[in-house]
């Protein structure tokens, strides 16, 4: 398991691959597109730019979006230029098990939706039991033991949540 740290990439000396540049440019391109759409479609927001001494509610969003757009464009140009000249060499996009991450994300969204239907604690029990059992089975290859581990952890976690959050902190989870 990789270690989470508050910083990343220390000690890596190789230059970044142009693929990373393109990825960064696309990410910020999407952010800028969404941002510009929201700002430009807000008539009251844009009108606030002409509101006397106050530079207006749109002032800083426009400044920040402009800078981000320039930055994203420059990174995109740099990425294309480097890709054409030197190919894909260098440190590329971080590897990861994207399938498991996507499955976890979807199940977390389902947990949120399911909490509204069957209640938070039952939904959490199903979520934690299923995930623990699946991960345990992948690690050990022993399905019965994995199911037992899942059930025990699911029950223990729900008990902890009930005692800590529902009984003591009065968070309406139940």
């Amino acid at each position: 398991m990789t270690q989470p740290t508050d910083t990343q990439g220390n000690g890596e000396q190789l230059p970044l691959s142009p693929v990373v540049d393109l990825g960064v440019a696309i990410l910020f391109g999407i952010i800028c597109a969404a941002g510009w759409f929201s700002v430009l479609s807000g008539k009251r927001l844009m009108a606030s730019l002409d509101s006397g001494l106050d530079p207006g509610a749109a002032f800083l969003p426009v400044v920040v979006l402009s800078l981000l757009s320039v930055g994203a464009t420059l990174i995109l140009i740099k990425g294309i230029y480097r890709l054409a000249r030197q190919g894909r060499g260098g440190r590329s996009i971080e590897h990861g098990d994207h399938g498991s991450a996507a499955a976890l994300l979807v199940s977390m969204i389902l947990l949120g939706g399911g909490a509204g239907v069957i209640g938070f604690l039952p939904a959490t029990f199903i979520f934690s039991t299923a995930w623990t059992a699946w991960l345990s089975w992948r690690r050990t290859g022993r399905p019965l033991r994995a199911a037992m581990v899942g059930l025990v952890l699911g029950a223990a976690l729900c008990l902890f949540l009930y005692v800590t959050f529902v009984s003591i902190l009065k968070v309406p989870l139940a």
Binding site: N10, V39, L60, S136, R139
Partner: protein, 503 residues
């Protein structure tokens, strides 16, 4: 000053709830910090919701004990299984792990614990001495100065982030945009809400931090957690106490490391990782046996551990006095204060001096309790490093959901947390730092409010920033920090050309 500190300490010690919470916080901090894969930031982020219902004094006491104890917990994994639990313990493993392999794991942990405590105390002294002076100076600040402080903080925080400064600043810019989501405070005009009611209330710092530092880590590690891995052999703890003479002989090393830690930690975003690296390098320079470093010498544990712990006090200085988080962990801590209606900054020292004294006494208590609990539970804490990562991942994922829900009892915050978890995952894939996003969210409102107020005061003229020497200096320093990475390669090339020419 001392009277207020002692009074606050006495109040905490005489409050049974306060003591119980402090002990629980210390235990949880050490245990979570010692779990492979749980950083201090993650520990604080997932335990933050527990503090919501508490009195602000108790909340900060609980969180500071978790913070301080998790820093020591991070060193446990570094020493016993060669995996740094926190960025600050990266250097500790260089000599800590070889010490453990040679049968001196207990002694390495005691060195770490004692030097952490002493380092933390020196960091606390730095905080107590410097913070009021800086806060008094900051009381003279008006809107132009605060605008410049926010710009400077944001640039510096992005500058110190790993990787490209410009990219760090772009992530910070995205954080600024996130801080603008919701209704504008001056005009009540909605911004970046996309007609969604979930976004009209703005983005809270806690779901952002929980998503970015908690859930994103789970997404990153869940695949690997499901793979069978070879079980590492944990070294035996052995004797806990090193010879007292040897322990005491390291006082100069502890002092040097602590001073470096407090000084570096006080620079916004410099963080503990830089502090420990400098402390280790300095200790090698002062040592009579530098060639032995990396083979299991005790100075190699003492120097970085004292710097690591004293940097906590340092990082609290800009947070408490200027409202600028020193690093990602203090950003999470700041989120807790904001939830309790306490805005860190110079005003806190005049409007709520008892709270400031409470922070000092809580920090002191956290250090002492970490020493006591750490020594008492040393042999048992070592077992925590064996908890399977897949169980941890599931528990942390559920706590991320509960923590986000508990802020306002709404699922909207859970979905915001999930969104920032995905953003954190993408930032990691693209090798971008995540922390500037949180810094942008914190500093965004401070920047916008003061920028607009300054321009109103200056009747629309930007000269108001030139007329203030402090604002001008800070803005010039910010410009320098932005330009430096752009012009530095050019200067290096020019220098190399000149060398070749005159050789």
């Amino acid at each position: 000053m001392l009277t207020d500190f002692l009074a606050a300490l006495g109040t905490t010690l005489l409050s049974p709830w306060g003591l119980v919470l402090a002990v629980i916080g210390t235990l949880l901090g050490i245990l979570l910090g010692a779990m492979p894969g749980v950083s201090s930031t993650m520990a604080l982020a997932i335990l933050l919701p527990i503090s919501f219902g508490m009195d602000p004094h108790l909340a900060i006491l609980f969180l500071l004990t978790v913070f301080v104890a998790s820093v020591y917990g991070g060193s446990v994994t570094a020493i016993l299984i060669n995996i740094p639990g926190t960025p600050g313990s990266i250097v500790t493993q260089l000599d800590g792990y070889p010490m453990a392999r040679s049968g001196r794991a207990g002694q390495a942990l005691t060195y770490a614990l004692v030097s952490s405590t002493l380092g933390g105390l020196i960091g606390l002294v730095a905080l107590v001495l410097v913070a009021p002076l800086l806060a008094a100076a900051a009381m003279k600040f008006r809107s132009p100065e605060f605008t410049a402080v926010a710009v400077f903080g944001l640039v510096l925080l992005a500058y110190a982030s790993p990787g490209s400064t410009i990219r760090g600043m772009m992530v910070g810019g995205f954080g600024l945009l996130c801080g603008m989501v919701g209704f504008d405070k001056l005009t009540d005009i909605p911004r970046f809400t996309f007609d969604s009611t979930a976004l009209q209330g703005g983005i809270e710092l806690v779901p952002l931090c929980v998503g970015l530092f908690g859930f994103a880590e789970v997404l990153k590690n869940v695949g690997a957690a499901g793979r069978s891995s070879a079980k590492g052999v944990m070294p035996t703890i052995g004797k806990i106490w090193p010879p007292m003479k040897e322990l005491l002989s390291h006082w100069k090393t502890m002092l040097r490391g602590s001073l470096i830690g407090a000084g570096v930690g006080a620079i916004p975003a410099a963080g503990s990782a830089i502090a420990v690296a400098i402390a280790y390098a300095q200790e090698m320079r002062f040592s009579k046996r530098p060639e032995k470093f990396g083979t299991g010498v005790s100075e190699g544990v003492v120097a970085p551990e004292s710097a690591n712990s004293s940097s906590i006090g340092g990082t609290l200085i800009p947070m408490m006095t200027l409202g600028i988080p020193g690093d990602a962990i203090t950003a999470v801590l700041m989120g807790s204060l904001l939830i309790h209606g306490l805005r860190p900054g110079p005003g806190l020292f005049t409007s709520n001096p008892e709270f400031v004294s409470g922070v000092y006494s809580s920090f002191f208590l956290a250090l002492i309790l970490t020493l006591i609990v750490g020594l008492l539970l040393m042999r048992w804490v070592a077992w925590v490093t064996r908890i399977p990562s897949h169980i941890l991942m599931v528990v942390i994922a559920v706590l991320c959901v509960v923590g986000s829900f508990a802020i306002r009892n709404t699922m909207d915050d859970v979905y915001i947390m999930l969104a920032f978890g995905v953003i954190g995952y993408l930032l990691n894939l693209l090798r971008l730092p995540a922390a500037p996003l949180a810094f942008g969210l914190i500093l965004g409102p401070l920047l916008e409010e003061n920028l607009r107020r300054s321009l109103i005061l200056g009747r629309g003229s930007w000269e108001i920033f030139i007329d203030s020497p402090i604002a001008l200096t800070l803005l010039l320093m910010s410009a320098g920090a932005i330009l430096l990475p752009l012009v530095a390669p050019w200067f290096v090339r020019l220098r190399n050309d000149l060398r070749r020419t005159y050789r």
